[in-house]
């Protein structure tokens, strides 16, 4: 009667859709495939994936899961279709290893290109690109061109600092790095100092902080390097204004360098297409793919000699911090607790 769809027809239609989905997932064994589980939005890596398929004929299937990717692979266990894990932030890479959903890869091609600081000593994960966590400074109101992370806690910035949630992945790693440099007590003091300088409660993403600078809410903010390029070079006129309102200062730790993080790869423990996965990993450090990746995502290429995106290059030369990121990963839990303790997000 008034039911909008005929029950039978609806079922039939639904079953057809389900059948198609089932068919595509089960018939996959017929051709060469690679199943990628990624915490990065696949659109970001699509240019590289397309190129890979063109070169090798291997069909790439992807699933994008922001949170819970490791749990899913672990639960799927032996029958998991996952071959390769792509994720950003050392925290996620280390978590994947801790969860036992990765397996080691021994590859000269990878080890030759990727500096030891940006891969797991046992070969469970490999960084393929870097991003810096840097300071966005108002073009209008901030004149200095150097800054330390420590200075963000200086009272001279009172009411002038913006940042996204302290519990966000990117900030947790930055705070963990601060713990690695200064110890827990000093890091907590620093965090409280930054908190006292905040212009508003942490919220939004990194772009919103640039927007707040444009709006005059604050003078300096913390954000990742590639966002600046995405804002300035994107096709959105409003975001262009946000990107143009700020200068990027590459901050350093006192006695250290700029905090960088990786986006990386890991081979899944029960990868059904292991050979294809390793082929892809090695492809990711080739000149061609490093170039595509650097251009499309505005990340720092991991391979020496690859051209950095002009917007990113304009920030000046990156002097990456010297503490191995695997060490930083171990301090993440502590960092997360410090954020709560300092009431940073309150």
């Amino acid at each position: 009667m008034m039911v909008n769809f005929s029950f039978g027809r609806g079922l039939l239609f639904g079953a057809a859709v389900l059948g198609t989905l089932a068919g595509s997932s089960l018939s996959a064994s017929a051709e060469e495939v690679l199943n990628i589980y990624t915490t990065r939005e696949p659109g970001l890596i699509k240019p590289v994936l397309d190129e890979f398929t063109k070169e090798t004929g291997i069909k790439v299937n992807t699933i994008f899961i922001a949170n819970g990717l490791e749990e899913r692979i672990r639960t799927e266990g032996q029958n998991s279709p996952a071959d390769l894990i792509i994720t950003v932030d050392i925290g996620r890479l280390a978590a994947a290893k801790d969860y036992g959903v990765t397996q080691p890869v021994k590859s000269e091609a990878l080890e030759k290109v990727i500096p030891a600081a940006y891969r797991d000593p046992e070969g469970h994960w490999f960084g393929i690109a870097l991003r810096g966590r840097v300071v966005y400074a108002s073009k209008e109101r901030v004149k200095q061109d150097k800054i330390t992370y420590e200075e963000l806690a200086d009272p001279k910035w009172k009411g002038k600092v913006c940042i996204r949630s302290g519990q966000h992945l990117y900030n947790i790693s930055l705070i963990a790095a601060m713990i690695a440099h200064k110890g827990e007590a000093k890091a907590e003091e620093w965090l409280k100092g930054v908190k006292a300088n905040l212009a508003k409660k942490p919220s939004g993403g990194d772009r919103e902080q640039a927007k707040d600078i444009l709006a005059g809410v604050c003078d300096v903010a913390v954000g990742n390097t590639y966002y600046v390029s995405l804002m300035r070079n994107g096709n959105d006129a409003e975001q262009k204004k946000w990107g143009e309102a700020i200068n990027v200062i590459l901050p350093t730790f006192e006695g250290g360098g700029t905090h960088v993080n990786v986006s990386g790869l890991a081979l899944a423990k029960n990868a059904p297409n292991k050979a294809n996965a390793v082929k892809f990993m090695e492809y990711m450090v080739s000149d061609a793919s490093q170039q595509i990746h650097a251009e499309a995502n505005s990340e720092y290429p991991i391979k020496a000699g690859i051209k950095i995106h002009p917007t990113i290059a304009s920030f000046g030369e990156l002097k990456a911090d010297n503490i191995p990121i695997a060490e930083i990963a171990k301090l993440r839990k502590k960092a997360s607790e410090l954020v709560d303790k300092a009431g940073f997000d309150q």
Binding site: V17, N61, E76, N79, P202, A215
Partner: protein, 594 residues
């Protein structure tokens, strides 16, 4: 002698009616177990860890986030509750300019997902958003510090955003209640000279209480389930704490422990609310009421009513939709409409339709069984069915994964031993997991709606059928299902809309290369390019709109159909449910019970 036989017959009859056939009992038990599955898994995960997270949580997190959570819930309860009840009362009991149009418009925000609204409100009202930039240009202000403007990324902002899209839950329930209940009471009160305000306070509000309770609790559960909007707007709810414990401190067991405590809290609230209403009967008697006769509001009063009812629609529907349209046009996103997009669209519809059908079947089984016999099994299963909605989507998905993969691996092992081939994952690999998650999460909408629908039907109908010798099967097919049909339709529509909007469980359980419209929007948003997902978001709203419109149409336009001489279009002139031509919401209850 004769009298004695009759008593004996009556007794045995009643006893028989209390017993269910074994297959029905088994089905009821299985459905109950299905819903309990992820909860059991969740408790299992929680038990894996020790209590090490609690000292830190109690010292540093829980005080603030509990206060934030309670403030958020209280705020939404008050704002969305008053929006829903006021508008429902105005359009039901009064006549004012635009009323007949507003009756159509008021439920529309139901089609707009909360997280999308949060993003839109930030784009529009934030420091460098459209409104403030325009204001600055107009007023010549230079910086944010030159003027005061309410902060959208804040607790009040979050309450506003969520209330704007959640109030229809209360509106729909309250309107159904006002329409079916209050005519005679109201008229008596009016005759006795009660003022309009007093009518509302003394008669309407108390009558709306069950509807208010049901609507508000649905809205609050939605709010508690949310992670995207509150995190983006800078509100640290307990749900955010669950995420931090899980993701930043690598403690899934710890996160599960917090989730369990929250769940216990929610169940406690549901029980208290039920207890509070234990002795009251709000259901309509089998006798027909007259509908409320709307009183005209003249002059300024009428326009104030128009304004009051327009505001929620603007906030919850027109503003988000207009923004999405603007972005779609501005970014020329129509190019995105290709075969991939069509495939995602069909996946979304297919999954939602399948899940809706499955839910309806299961709900009919549950409710029919409970109607045939109020045993502890049927009552228990109905209560358990209500819990699914209280479990946040991500938690549900995490809890479901283990049992799903368990089943998959079992099938896989058998397959391998039979054929020697590796089968892979069947349920997880083919979206079976998503459908099961939808079923668990939204089953309560159907059982609530159907129970409410059946409760309004006098048991004398079934008694008559029984006396005439109908078998149980005939009772279900010939009496109960036709009686439930109007409720089935409205439940189907609500569930369909909810399935289309569902994000967290879909995200976590979908197979490779599979996107729905909501995961599509999410992928754009997580790239920091929310605007690029405007087309997908717009399609979600539009697809959700059709069922909502259908819901309103079937509820509002019915009297005309019934009044038409043929009456054939409605097809509902069966005894007991149609024929009176009064307001249809009585026969088409959209009340949702937990």
């Amino acid at each position: 002698m004769i009298a004695k036989t009759q008593t004996a017959f009556g007794r045995s009859f009643r006893r028989k009616a209390q017993r269910l056939p074994w297959w029905l009992s088994a089905a009821v038990a299985l459905i109950g177990l299905l819903v309990l599955l992820p909860l059991a898994a969740l408790i299992g995960i929680a038990a894996e860890g020790d209590a090490e997270i609690w000292p830190h949580l109690i010292a540093n997190v829980l005080p603030a986030s509990t206060i934030d959570t309670l403030a958020l819930l209280a705020g939404i309860g008050i704002v969305a509750g008053s929006m829903g009840v006021t508008t429902a009362w105005l359009v039901t009991a009064h006549r004012f300019p635009g009323r007949s149009l507003l009756v159509w418009l008021l439920p529309l925000p139901l089609a707009v997902p909360t997280y999308i609204t949060a993003y839109i409100y930030v784009e529009v009202f934030d420091s460098a958003g459209l409104v403030q930039m325009a204001l600055r240009e107009f007023m010549g202000w230079k910086s944010r510090t030159d003027y005061w403007f309410p902060e959208i990324r804040s607790l009040p902002g979050c309450i506003l955003v969520m209330s704007a899209v959640l109030y229809p839950y209360i509106y729909i329930a309250a309107r159904a209640m006002f329409l079916t209940q209050s005519a005679s009471l109201l008229e008596v009160a009016r005759t006795l000279g009660a003022s309009r305000i007093k009518l509302f306070r003394i008669i309407a509000l108390p009558l709306a209480r069950p509807a208010l309770a049901v609507g508000v609790s649905l809205a609050l559960l939605e709010a508690l389930n949310d992670i995207g909007a509150s995190e983006y707007l800078g509100v640290r709810t307990l749900t955010v704490s669950v995420y931090n414990t899980w993701l930043n401190r690598g403690s899934l067991p710890g996160a599960a422990q917090i989730a369990c405590v929250m769940l216990a809290f929610v169940i406690g609230l549901i029980l208290i609310e039920r207890y509070g209403r234990r002795d009251r009967r709000y259901a309509a008697s089998a006798k027909r009421h007259r509908t409320v006769h709307p009183v005209p509001l003249l002059g300024v009063r009428g326009w104030v009513a128009t304004l009051l009812c327009t505001m929620p629609v603007v906030l919850g529907f027109f503003l988000p939709t207009a923004f999405l349209l603007r972005e779609t046009v501005r970014g020329s996103l129509f190019d995105q409409f290709n075969t991939d997009f069509l495939a995602h669209f069909l996946t979304t519809i297919g999954l939602s339709v399948l899940a809706t059908c499955a839910i309806l079947v299961l709900a009919v089984v549950l409710v029919s069984a409970a109607r045939l016999a109020k045993t502890s099994l049927t009552r228990g299963a109905l209560f358990v069915a209500g819990l699914g909605y209280a479990v946040p989507g991500t938690v549900l998905a995490l809890g479901l994964m283990t049992p799903l993969v368990g089943i998959d691996n079992l099938i896989g092992t058998v397959w391998r031993s039979l054929t020697g081939e590796r089968l892979g994952l069947l349920l997880m690999g083919a979206a079976g997991g998503i459908i099961i998650a939808y079923v668990i999460r939204f089953l309560s909408i159907a059982t609530g709606s159907l129970s409410a629908g059946l409760d309004r039907v006098s048991p004398s109908l079934e008694d008559a059928a029984r006396t005439l010798g109908a078998s149980r099967r005939e009772m279900i097919w010939a009496i109960q299902i036709p009686l439930m049909r109007p409720a089935l339709a409205s439940a189907a529509l609500l569930i369909f809309v909810d399935c289309i909007k569902e994000l967290p469980a879909t995200l976590l359980l979908r197979p490779l290369n599979t996107e729905t419209l909501s995961t599509l929007v999410y992928t754009y948003a997580s790239r920091g390019r929310f605007e690029d997902g405007s087309l997908a978001a717009l399609v979600i709203v539009l697809v959700g709109l059709l069922p909502v419109i259908q819901l309103v149409r079937s509820a509002e336009a019915r009297p005309k159909v019934a009044e038409s001489p043929s009456g054939s279009a409605s097809g509902s002139t069966k005894p007991g449910i149609g024929a009176d031509g009064a307001d249809p919401l009585r026969r088409r209850p959209v009340t949702i019970e937990l």
